[in-house]
Symmetry: D3
């Protein structure tokens, strides 16, 4: 099955080690973006993964293009042109100091992407899944329209459509997000989110009375999942990632997958964080891959959570792991024993 | 209010990552020194921070001068001359292997600093606070005299005077330290120390009968604070940092502030250490800033401890954080959630 | 004398060594911009150097602010705000492969700088010289107006005004440049340019009949200088840099200074290039410093050319040299003998 | 037209800067191999470039696979398996110290490549050119047979066949080379070599009487070209690279292309070497591309030499340039002026 | 007492930080090998440590030779020749992602080492201890024979012989290992192993009925130790390392030493792993040093475990610590307090 | 033959690439010192090379000790103790910008070296050559005495004694140097110097009337050599290095060896400088090695100059080349052709 992802990819610049930006004379350079991260992950799982974006026709755009192509992503639908790559600067946090992202994405090439530039026949040929996040429609009104149009078309063509809410308050207001994302939900089969996103965008919250501690919080999420599915009846699945942020160095990590059949909680991992940027995207990719491969809900949520646990031990946005590596963790070996 | 700090700043050389010195062909270079660290911290908090030291008139001294000036420290009172920057080599420890400091500071420029070289009018103009640590007087007898003289003058001019005991056994004997630091106490309002310093320098210890565990140890520190204040009646405050060294990677971190109004224990943080060098200085800076800003004792100790918790997640001696970042942690968010 | 410079400073990202951008996973980071480079150079010469720009209020802007402050530039007139630092990517060329600059400066903070944000009283207080390049008015119409206005005001207040033509064809058309720069010439005392700039912007060329080889080309430049001074009678000096590009590794480098007293050719250097970006700016700074210090035309052109020869042996845009170092070269020692 | 290249690609490890291997604790890593370098060059020129090799099925092989794919090389015919990537260590020479290559290629995956593993239908589909160097048949007898077989088949299918002699004395004897390469010549249209290769492998030398200096040496090469073409009548072209090694830092670089129409000498460049490894391969790629594009002999030799002049200013084996960049140099601009 | 170690040392290449191999363009280079690691550790403890291996006569071999000589290892018995250094690539794991080792050691120089090349008189002169691991005989049949022969000769000459089982399933089958290692046991005094090795090689397992949890597992190991000693009566000691792999970032670490006098469990450390490669070898070295120095069983196991706890906080295979540092930890201070 | 060298070795810190010290946040670390450089060179030539110095007993001293031992230097006579390693900072110059050395060597361990600490029996056992430079006696009066005493003793024991004048004006006055070095000349067989040294220390200059250009300048040096030999009749040889400093990037390099048999000029090399620090020392080592090996004057001066030409293409003070590499250059191949 061919998977389509659609969104922006940016150049990510990060000071070496744990230096702050205002100390740095040297940056490590990565590329990343919510949907691109999903695209790379799927390609590395061996899937046919086509990524739609617009990249500038300069040396930085070329580097990005090659890196995606190198990872095995089908880059034949990528449009070239526009003025610039968006950029984001990250600082690696530790202990009580949070990691930070500083975005410099205004005027990036993708905001100039227009419907006419896309070769839709090529894009949809042989495709079975379409994925987008809430960042893409937030970038500009034209992309909001384009996102909705592509989701609609994907649904019409019989593709499974997934959407990661990914609310970014610096890009648009809650009202705008609610309006657009609500429309998106009509065309969405699988919704991926965290509690905060659902509350920010749709105003849906877990029932207060249910939440008092660890166990109950799970029930709260299950209830919230039910509410979301009731609100958007087109959905077949709602998936939540449950991040417990003890510090910038240590997190608890698990997930919950709700469907008509009920809700399944994944295994939970204690993470020593190396790079949490892209953690959610690697979950999306894992979940999508697992569902598309016919895994049942329990398998799928565990595959997605294991994949994203591994991602957070790797530098850069992309989840550079194989299906075998994910399965090894999902099916039990999290001992980190050396592999000779 | 203008803050004056006085002491030595050195070039710090550290092998990359966790290499030991005897492996290293490459060093990361930082600058640091107890009072300079306080000066930079205060400047970054937005305060007017003037730093008094003596730097050699060569390229390394110039680099240091520029770095301080870049951080916003008022460098107009820095004297130039003398033979060399002091240097110290550090190894970053981990787990059971301690970090180490190897000092090469003999004959450094500051040891040639003489009273006549200092423009005192400029230095004290508009100043409200004077800070020094026990390292400065330990460097040589002339600096001991100069330190006492400046403290005295600061007190006469109505400045608040703070002193971080910072006993360094490689620089002077306990006897010499006791003699000089006791004199210093006559001019000191705020004393900053840890238990070991107080015992080494003044021979004051927490009552043994009180100490049996976590809770009681706090009482021990409170009692010790009372003793110190009784011994040195000029003091308005005594602050202790309470470091629990589980390993070179993990520490518990909190503080205690004693005044006539009683003693207040700060919030406690579990630290995943990135760089603990300069941790105490960042506490001093935080405490000084908070007290000078009119925060009450509880606020002040919490501000100081939060500031220094953040510092220990950053590479280099300087605490590269803002007041807003400290307040965010002090007022509750230590989750390390990513900041987008 | 206080020197004012006004323009944009950008973050410069450059792959390590001689890698091309499409190979690079790591960038060295510098800051640079035509007028900022002049400002830093003047500050390093020991002059009072105030720099006017607008920097974003984020970590990258802060790093830049600190670096300028560290170099001794007076940053008290810098306005903070706007969305972003402009960025430019450079590739270091060698042999027959040219160095390249890829600009990503659209929407940078300085394009939002408005007259009302500038504290003119503070800016002009005590100032004796005003410098700008043709890049600043090219950035947007508002900056073109502001540039003209500041030049006019500088002239009225009796400052010497210098202008480096610096024509950038990607920023504006020749027509627009001609219109604005012609107006600027009414307020300019010292014009700095190369032959190409003068031709592109003003349509002035050296008489063809004069140019047949090395010696005659000098005569051509002298004639061109006369023409420029005849066209813009407000000018007291016109200075040309004469770069002979044998390859990206080797250049000949000299200059010519024309005034009413005639034309003087500088000494000529054979350069082994380390970093030619900022070469012209370091010439401007040297020339300005020398003229302002009362050096005669021959001394001034030789000081400027020696300063810029040194710059091109140093990494980064800034000319990190002292007056003593420039004089040593200008007055004769270009042997590169080791200094112990 | 699709171009096929066939050979080994290795991991190249090189100490940073100009360090020698016995100083190095850190290596920069590149991939390179004679035919792979040609393949990447052609792909970057925009050509359809398919590369045949065998790569191990491990992380290092995967990195290589992705890098080739990223460069736009068609990797669909690459066979996976075998034990290891060949490795070579390089030291960057300078001045009188030569660069060195230390090969560790025994037992590399490609030596286990067998005819049955190759999907010949896919490989040859749509192909118009086949290129190989004398390194491939030297690796082991099986590869010698395979090389001859593929060349023969290519000729039968009507492809143009080119061969770079590339004699490696550490891999096989002159006798073995002569035997195999002579057979190869029956199927070769375009032979690429330097004088030493032709002498080592075929025992053909330029007539001594002709060679006395610069000009005459050119005649000597022309005569040698005639001899080679007389000996191997299947050849349509013989191309020589003429490297004048003044030192490890400076070379003269030009080429000569002989055909039935006569001999054409290219423009000559003075190179400041950044990385000469892969220089010959970038020439082959340029020549092949030019001939296949219908350029005449003069254009083709100049395109090839310009391409390879650029390569030698770039780090790593691959020639990371575009057709436009090569044309710019070939058609005249070698000034290395900065490109803004 | 002189200690002899015998085995292979390889070049170890590791991507910077936590990058995966398929991301890496730069490797940090170390040298390591089970017995070489022991040899370096012993030399750093101040012991006379002679290491027998075969290194290629090229620049990489020379770098390795110098590094060993630099560490104080007696390199006078090292044979030079053969084709290549074995290489292994490591990825540093974290959290749930395991570290990996990718070996490329086929055809390495040591596999060509023959009895006649060894100067046995020099090797054994003054020696008191001989150490080898199960890796050496696994490399090729000739080395299996040579290993047995050297162990036998060592025993005859009255040396204490130690052997670290170190079973590597990629090098030989369990059957081959059992056959050879059983023969080795006739000449071995001190066997070092973990439970898995003993089971893989000798088929000996701890009694199932005993193992139910933490405490009982210790009993299981004690029982296993008894079984091993009963099976191989020549043994005086059997030592087990007990690694609890919670994740690739956190391990529990302790050991057990069994002898005729009974079994002693060491102190247990919680490790924050920096580099666990070489952990077992540093234990062997510590244990050997302690036993050879006349420490009793309890002291010896604690010395060995403390030594190896420190190693795992240091980058590279070698345990760069002194006896004083080990004793400091073994005798109680694991607080990681900074050493000034 | 065993060679003894005696002097100081320092830690050398150098910013990466061509950065200036006031830009640098990272230093590459080397070790170097005039006599240590000679010692390493001799050891790498395969000679028995014992080096006498005093190193501090700390981690930096240990790193240095290991590096020397690694290079094959006999470190058994090195005394351990004293307070610190001397340090020097270097900036790599280019083009018209000179390289600089900033020394921080006061109070280094060697200045505390006393006669009683040296095991002279061990030192002189089997030795045939003693080498020292004029830096050692300049460090402090005690070392001046010790130098003279060791030279005297060496002469008495029948060793050949060589001395490199190496005048350092920052260490002592011309008068002091003249007094001590004149005494040294009584015990010296081979004097190594450049014209400036001879003039500064002994006030001997080439006759002005002889010097008018290239050829005559050689005669001037020959005449100077005669004068020196006439002044100090104990000398058998005087060797001059002739450096033509065109720039910090390009030098001419040759030498002249005078003896009773007359004067021989070496071959001359055009150097593209990578690191000229240690150039003179590598010449000394080459000359010493050649003379001690029985080469005639012409061979010896050519060997010394070729060795030092190679050194200046390598990073760091040490000349990391073999006799074979030197001979290859000395006997003709300076083409820098790649070595495969």
């Amino acid at each position: 099955m061919k998977f389509i992802t659609f969104g922006e990819i940016m150049l990510r610049l990060q000071p070496e080690g744990f230096k702050r930006i205002d100390q740095a004379d040297r940056y490590d350079a990565f590329f990343g973006g919510s949907e691109a991260n999903v695209a790379v992950s799927l390609a590395r799982f061996g899937a046919e993964s086509t990524y739609l974006t617009k990249l500038p026709d300069n040396a930085v755009g070329e580097k990005c293009f090659k890196e995606l192509r190198g990872e095995g992503v089908d880059v034949s639908c990528i449009v070239r042109g526009g003025a610039r790559m968006g950029i984001y600067f990250t600082e690696k946090g530790a202990s009580q100091r949070a990691s930070t992202c500083l975005y410099d994405r205004a005027g990036s090439s993708i905001t100039t992407l227009r419907k006419e530039e896309i070769d839709k026949d090529k894009l949809f040929a042989g495709a079975g899944w379409f994925h987008v996040s809430g960042i893409t429609p937030a970038l500009c009104p034209e992309l909001a329209d384009l996102t909705v149009e592509l989701m609609k078309e994907a649904q019409l063509k019989g593709l499974v459509v997934s959407c990661d809410l990914n609310y970014r308050k610096k890009l648009w207001s809650k009202e705008a997000a609610k309006r657009v994302m609500t429309e998106c939900m009509s065309y969405t089969d699988v919704l991926i989110a965290n509690e905060e996103d659902v509350s920010d965008v749709f105003g849906l919250k877990a029932d207060g009375t249910d939440i008092e501690g660890g166990k109950l919080s799970e029930n709260g999420y299950i209830a919230l999942g039910r509410k979301v599915m009731a609100t958007f009846p087109a959905l077949s699945h709602v998936a939540f990632t449950l991040r417990e942020s003890f510090s910038a160095s240590k997190n608890g990590w698990s997930g919950l997958l709700c469907s008509k059949k009920g809700a399944v909680r994944s295994r939970r991992y204690e993470l020593d964080l190396i790079d949490r940027v892209g953690g959610g995207d690697s979950f999306s990719a894992g979940l999508i891959y697992a569902l598309a491969s016919g895994q049942n809900d329990e398998q799928a949520i565990n595959f997605g959570i294991a994949a994203s646990a591994l991602k957070q031990s790797i530098e850069g946005d992309f989840n550079r792991v194989t299906v075998a590596e994910v399965n090894k963790l999902a099916l039990g070996d999290g001992s980190g024993r050396i592999q000779r």
